[in-house]
Symmetry: C2
Subunit: 113 residues, 2 copies
């Protein structure tokens, strides 16, 4: 039930969101732009990606939300929970191991041990 059997390359949007929210609470629209800007346009995740992930993370208890009105604008701010911090650590570790593995193949080519 709670097990997550996704494919080996997935979960990056989730990772990015958790990492950004770790520093300060953010809202969906803000995350969309933050990811685009801070990746220098290399990654452009739309709202159709971000919002569903935010909802799933909140449902799993990794994020908590609070509705706030700023400048007459209603926003849903998301903050990292303790469970979310743990999940972030796990995802970041997996990502690191994965990219290291890929890099080791890319740089060394095919000369076997």
């Amino acid at each position: 039930m709670a097990e997550n059997n996704s494919n080996f390359m997935s979960g990056v949007p989730e990772l990015l969101i958790l990492r950004l929210v770790r520093e300060k609470e953010m809202y969906g629209y803000e995350l969309v732009q933050a990811i685009r800007e801070r990746s220098k346009e290399a990654i452009a995740l739309g709202e159709g990606v971000i919002y569903p992930v935010l909802h799933a993370l909140e449902r799993d208890g990794a994020l908590s939300s609070s509705r706030k009105t700023v400048n007459g604008r209603s926003r849903v701010y998301y903050a990292l929970t303790a469970a979310g911090a743990k999940r972030l650590d796990d995802l970041a570790g997996n990502w690191s191991r994965l990219t290291d593995a890929i890099q080791s193949i890319l740089v060394s080519g095919a000369q076997h041990a």
Copy 2:
């Protein structure tokens, strides 16, 4: 038609295969084990991933195949074509840019420019 609009995280199996075959021609079963061993078990792509990708790459002219019999075993060896080399460069470049972008978000957190 020829355009490839896949999602931003896909194409890694393809990249790994092209990179390995660049050094020496290899066959499917060999690639499955090579990826597993050279990634120290971090990546374990099954034959159900490798073979379809090999067929697609050959269909696209990125790989050429030749049937050979070694030790009474029939094997299909794949070699990189010029088009395949170009495709490899493209994929490697994209992967590099992508991981750099992700890394820049992961390490610096949320302090904006």
